[in-house]
């Protein structure tokens, strides 16, 4: 059922604003068009409501107890929120995004053209609270209210009450958008509701210290204090490197020494540290390719330097700057010519694009993506590759951060066209792709029932696209591969495949790009990619 949620309801309604049901979600292609093929939605545990905000849609992204306990705490929360709003509008406190924010707030024609762009909104069955303009409209009204002193003018500009309910729901709602910014491509006025989502998150993070633990306490803070958001320490890394070298030897027969902390190298390669723990074959494939191609490269074992992630890009400008600066500092000390980012989308965008303007002077070290380098290696035939070794259907997921938000579209496709004879595109693709549903932190947010929201709603469109791309060969006997050159996208896709049991039902597997390159190498006998 499509509830008619009015803007005012965020401040008024006591009960949960919307409820996700299987009937409302967009339909999936075969074999998921039959009932009983996917798990049902669950109810939030009643006790969660004590500490966490279940009043939006029953899902909890912000997994820290921050509900006010009494009237005084509520008033303090409102006051703090007002302070935050003022800082968002302040030239010093928000120089980083003031101009885009003001433009997006001031000029929306409320034409709703952007709504049809949003996979979260569409997949949910068009639930109002996920509409790109919903949270934007609330922020817009609250800012107008504050700046006009709450006088009669707000009646003309559209009003919304400012109370604890509004604040709590708005914060949760800021974590129902992947900040994929597909909606901004649709807007005739060039406005950006994804940016507004991030600004709302910033307000809560930078003023309240409130953000999902996976992003803040266990994310950027852990990254800066232990060296990696995975908790991997420099010593732990060194042990792993040895293990990787042994594993490469075992799998490929190659003796490869992975260079670490080699001063004066040409390239500092930084991986998402999640790869070390969850997908070591990706790190190993990079080592094989870079060594075989004769690149002069190194990894860093310094704290922060072996983890390319920068979760600040999703919710906090201060943390964004700290991590980016730290990365640049490590590269400077290692005296490398350039930083190359491995298969991690948000790290690509954070260090090359978004944080570019916080790196000045000696910290302005060139940074680039691994994808053009890999294409160069394949194109110039530095490796002996046999495409027939990748003789299974392959489709490509475009990570938003690399493609729509950085313009790297062709290198990865050219590689796949060269080495995967059964490559096919998803639709839409390239810069008009859909997010995997794991964007802006969702892939790593696993508290309480949040993964259910991701799998059912934000990743649903991607699952549909994957199934559509393989419809010609959907039976589980045919092994198929979704290539996702991004750690977080891989994480989200791994979870989709498991939630919908798609590996067993449809024979769908997933992995990165470098694995496919190594799998095609003629001198490696065993298949590098294992699909079972």
């Amino acid at each position: 059922m499509r509830e008619r949620i009015a803007i005012q309801d965020i401040a008024k309604k006591e009960e949960q604003l919307v409820k996700i049901t299987l009937e409302d979600l967009i339909k999936l292609p075969p074999p998921y068009d039959k009932p009983g093929m996917e798990p049902n939605v669950t109810e939030p545990k009643p006790e969660w409501n004590q500490n966490y905000v279940t009043e939006l849609d029953g899902y909890v992204a912000i997994d820290i107890p921050w509900k006010p306990k009494n009237k005084e705490e509520e008033e303090a929360m409102v006051q703090k929120f007002i302070n935050g709003l003022k800082k968002l509008m302040d030239k010093e406190a928000n120089w980083t995004f003031l101009q885009p924010l003001l433009l997006s707030l001031e000029y929306c024609a409320r034409c709703q053209t952007c709504s049809d762009a949003c996979h979260v909104y569409i997949s949910s069955g068009r639930k109002e609270i996920y509409r790109p303009t919903y949270r934007a409209e609330i922020l817009r009204r609250l800012i107008k209210k504050i700046s006009s002193g709450g006088n009669f003018k707000t009646k003309f500009l559209g009003d919304v009450d400012l109370n604890a309910k509004t604040i709590l729901r708005l914060a949760e709602c800021a974590y129902r958008c992947n900040i994929c910014r597909r909606c901004a491509q649709y807007c005739p006025l060039g406005l950006d509701n994804g940016l507004i989502t991030r600004e709302i998150r910033k307000l809560f993070a930078q003023e309240f210290g409130v953000a999902p633990q996976a992003l803040h306490a266990q994310g950027t803070v852990k990254h800066l204090t232990t060296g990696s958001s995975t908790g991997l320490t420099p010593d732990g890394l060194k042990d792993m490197i040895e293990f990787f070298e042994e594993e490469i030897k075992e799998k490929t027969g190659k003796n490869i020494k992975i260079p670490v902390d080699e001063k004066g190298s040409d390239i500092l390669l930084i991986h998402n540290a999640g790869e070390f723990l969850s997908w070591p074959e990706n790190v190993e494939a990079f080592a094989i390719i870079f060594e075989e191609a004769g690149l002069d490269w190194t990894l860093s074992s310094e704290m922060v330097g072996y983890d390319a992630v920068n979760y600040g890009v999703w919710y906090d400008d201060v943390q964004l700057s700290r991590i980016a600066l730290k990365h640049a500092e490590i590269a400077r000390k290692l005296d490398v010519n350039r930083i190359v980012v491995g298969e991690c989308g948000h790290a690509h965008k954070a260090i090359t694009v978004v944080a570019d303007r916080v790196l000045v002077g000696e910290y302005q070290i060139p940074r680039e993506s691994c994808l053009p380098i890999l294409w160069d290696i394949v194109r110039t035939k530095k490796l002996n590759l046999d495409p027939n070794k990748n003789d299974f259907p392959v489709t490509l997921h475009d990570p938003c951060n690399v493609v729509r938000l950085m313009g790297i579209v062709e290198p990865q496709r050219k590689i796949l066209k060269e080495i995967c004879p059964k490559f096919r595109e998803m639709k839409p693709n390239g810069v008009y792709n859909y997010c995997c549903g794991g964007g802006s932190g969702f892939a790593i947010m696993t508290s309480m029932n949040f993964p259910e929201f991701r799998n059912k709603v934000s990743s649903r469109m991607k699952f549909k696209q994957i199934l559509d791309a393989f419809q010609d060969n959907i039976s589980p006997e045919v092994k198929k591969y979704v290539c996702a050159p991004c750690s977080n996208c891989k994480g989200a896709i791994r979870d989709i495949l498991s939630h919908y049991n798609a590996t067993a039902n449809c024979g769908i597997h997933y992995g990165g790009l470098v694995e496919l390159i190594v799998n095609a190498m003629v001198d490696i006998e065993q298949p590098y990619i294992e699909m079972f």
Binding site: Q99, Y107, V318
Partner: protein, 302 residues
């Protein structure tokens, strides 16, 4: 009196727009936040950027002005995004915007006809006369129908209504009122001769011809609209320039640019001000980013 109002209205319109332009152009350079395709990139056909090549910083950066112009014109002249993504609305909004463009053209034509009269350039008189007649008539009809149609759609479509404020309706009604009085005035001046004479009077600062009551009301309302408009979001024709050129298509890297001095000023001169536990509000951005002992042990200095 009416003349005076027109001069004031035009002056306010121009000045406030100018002030808006200055306001947005003097804001600090923001962090990069572009979206592809960026039409001045030679790879824009597939949405590509200079990051698609190895060692991008070592190569000259190519830009195609033609790509950007084409995209701009498609959006300005055809409202391409609404056409592609929200066709039902396009059928209403496109004729409406075409009406606005035509009415602007009509004003220019009136201005030219007035000059033709003043300087007695006989040869141009008839072509411009007919052009003014055609353009003006189409514009009035389009605006009359489609400002009302947009209003009706905004009221009747829940998707639009629930987000609209009083001002959204008021703006459309205001425009409709201006056009309606204009259409009534037109009935008394079917070939726009009086309008042209009025324009002549405005240019030469002389006393205007006597006009009907409808025309007087129309002129007064139009002047009020001119005064009101720059304060509203209807100035999106101006701010669109910023959203596209200065944000979505702005892909200037620091390497090789001249923005570094400005950035250094922001980083060392601007206070962070935020008050979450991991932030020290009294530090500037450079100190905050480098002395991050509140969250970690960064030793870097800027």
């Amino acid at each position: 009196m009416l003349n005076f109002l027109i001069y004031i209205a035009v002056a306010i319109f121009v000045l406030v727009l100018l002030a808006k332009f200055v306001k947005y152009s003097t804001m600090p350079i923001h962090l990069r936040w572009e979206i592809y395709p960026v039409p001045h990139d030679p790879g824009h056909e597939h949405g590509g950027s200079y990051y698609e090549g190895v060692s991008w910083w070592a190569k000259p950066r190519l830009k195609t002005l033609a790509g950007e112009l084409k995209e701009m014109l498609m959006e300005m002249l055809f409202i391409k995004r609404v056409f592609t993504y929200k066709r039902p609305l396009w059928w209403l909004t496109y004729p409406f915007h075409t009406g606005i463009y035509l009415i602007l053209v009509w004003f220019v034509l009136l201005f030219i006809s007035a000059l033709i009269d003043i300087f007695a350039i006989g040869i141009l008189k008839m072509p411009v006369y007919y052009l003014t007649l055609v353009v003006g008539s189409i514009a009035i009809i389009l605006l009359l129908i489609f400002s009302l149609a947009l209003f009706i759609r905004r009221v009747s479509d829940w998707e639009l209504r629930s987000y609209s404020s009083f001002l959204d309706y008021f703006n459309l009604i205001f425009i409709f009122a201006v056009v309606l009085t204009g259409a009534l005035a037109w009935q008394k001046d079917f070939d726009f001769t009086i309008a042209k004479d009025y324009m002549k009077a405005l240019i030469t600062f002389s006393s205007p011809p006597t006009v009907s009551l409808e025309t007087q009301i129309h002129i007064a309302l139009l002047s009020l609209l001119l005064i009101y408009l720059p304060f509203t979001k209807m100035t999106h024709f101006l701010t669109k320039w910023f959203t596209y050129h200065k944000i979505l298509w702005e892909d200037e890297p620091v390497i090789g640019s001249e923005m570094e001095e400005k950035l250094k000023k922001y980083l060392t001169g601007f206070k962070v001000k935020w008050s979450a536990p991991h932030v020290d509000p009294n530090l500037n951005w450079a100190e905050e980013a480098s002395r991050c002992d509140l969250a970690g042990k960064c030793e870097v200095k800027l």
